[in-house]
Amino acid sequence: MNIYIKSVVTIFSLCFLMSCTDNLNFDEINLNVDPIITVPLIYFDLDQDDFFNSSSGTEIPTITDISDFRVFESSDIRNETIKTVFDFEIENRFDRSFEVNVVFFDGNDNITQIIPALNIVSEDLDYVATYSIEIATSPMFLSSRKVSVEVKLSPSSSQIDPNIYQTIKFRSTGTFYFSI
């Protein structure tokens, strides 16, 4: 009987009173949080009517639009952003070339960042461009509150015919790299 009780106690002790341990290291707790956030930016479609003044019968050489750019209104985002990458995709079905200028402004309309002109040749259906801004070298970019997109029709000997359907599609996205 005693042997039986001893066996039970031994098995119980082995099962319930023993456990395994492992060394833990609390000295190297250094979590780097570096999320990458992609957000849609500006997109538009323009056709031949947008570049033609039917009342005067002349071309409109430049179309400009200014939009709010609110990404950096939050101080948290301003403090944590290390890099921004803009991707542009343009599909030009015009038989004319275009120049697209993207410029960022602060709240007082001062220029904070100019993206080099995008030159799209006629009937280029797969124009792709990428522009990267390192905040360390361009800290002014963080004060951007507006973005201007200017679409310039390159001069040509032939004028746009409003009866011939042609389009230019502009797509863009911003990818923001953070280090929190």
């Binding site: 492992d22 060394n23 833990l24 290291n25 609390f26 190297e28 707790i29 250094n30 979590l31 780097n32 949080v33 999320p35 990458i36 956030i37 992609t38 957000v39 849609p40 930016l41 997109y43 948290d76 944590e80 991707d87 995709e89 797509r171 863009s172 996205t173 990818t175 953070f178 929190i180």
Partner: protein
């Protein structure tokens, strides 16, 4: 944000329990009166040292083990964190309960009557791991095109209260001891979010290179007491504006010297 992420995981990796529950029927400790005001008390008086006399802490999580995050190996902390993040599910949760005695004393009024008075603070928190939100904060949406991030996983409730209490334990006869405790609760802090719904998805489409879709988003956090959290949160636990009331009763009855019933 980084500290918040770390805090969630650090407190979730500890699992500690005090002796509070087994203090039940321990007549030798004054804390037993908090569990059963009808306990048999043998001493003349007691005085608790603030904070030290009773500190109860329970922290646990169901998602992973400490070794998963703090194992002593060559992997970086980020690698361990990412593996843990991969293995947890939205049904895992962290639970924290802490109770601190600020004031606790008692004295024997006469041979049969013992009176005790005190004040303690208690924090309760339960939070389910909002896996999608944590992954969204940690990785961002860029690696997860076409994945739907659910908002409904965010479920959390936290309460901080102060309790002012006074109790009396009376020995009716050799067999029977009865007791009662009156409590005034002061709620200082409450944060709650549940019943959230909706999702956030980043996709590509013909309209733009990327597109953010917010679908049926309906989320909210109800809070009270956080306006002046640094100044008021502790002072409001002592008879602050949001009061409640509680009443405990207890009985100890000896059927024989060896057998007794505690209610």
């Amino acid at each position: 944000m980084k500290k918040l992420l770390l805090l969630i995981f650090l407190i979730a990796t500890v699992s500690l329990k005090s002796q509070q529950k087994i203090a039940f029927s321990f007549g030798e400790t004054p804390q037993t009166l908090m569990l059963n005001p009808g306990s048999e008390i043998n001493y003349k008086s007691h005085y608790g040292i603030p904070i030290v006399s009773n500190f109860q802490l329970t922290i646990g999580n169901t998602g992973f083990q400490m070794g998963d995050l703090f194992s002593n190996d060559s992997r970086s902390f980020n690698e361990k964190f990412e593996k843990v993040l991969d293995q947890i599910s939205p049904s895992d949760y962290i639970n924290l309960n802490t109770k601190i005695d600020v004031l606790n004393f008692g004295y024997r009024y006469n041979n049969k009557t013992y009176i005790s008075i005190g004040f303690y603070e208690e924090l309760d928190l339960i939070a389910y791991f909002p896996k999608d939100a944590i992954e969204g904060l940690y990785y961002g949406n860029d690696p997860f095109f076409n994945r739907s991030f659910s908002v409904s996983q965010a479920i959390m409730k936290a309460d901080l209260i102060g309790v002012l209490h006074a109790g009396i334990s009376k020995k009716v006869d050799e067999k029977l001891t009865i007791g009662a405790r009156f409590k005034i609760y002061s709620s200082s802090l409450n944060i709650e979010t549940n019943n959230n719904s909706g999702s956030i998805t980043t996709t590509t489409n013909n309209i733009n290179i990327s597109r953010l879709t917010l679908q049926n988003l309906d989320a909210g956090v109800r809070t009270s007491g956080i306006d002046n959290i640094e100044e008021d949160v502790l002072s409001n636990t002592f008879l602050g504006g949001n009061l409640g009331m509680g009443f405990d009763v207890g009985i100890t009855y000896h059927f024989s010297p060896q057998r007794r019933c505690i209610i």
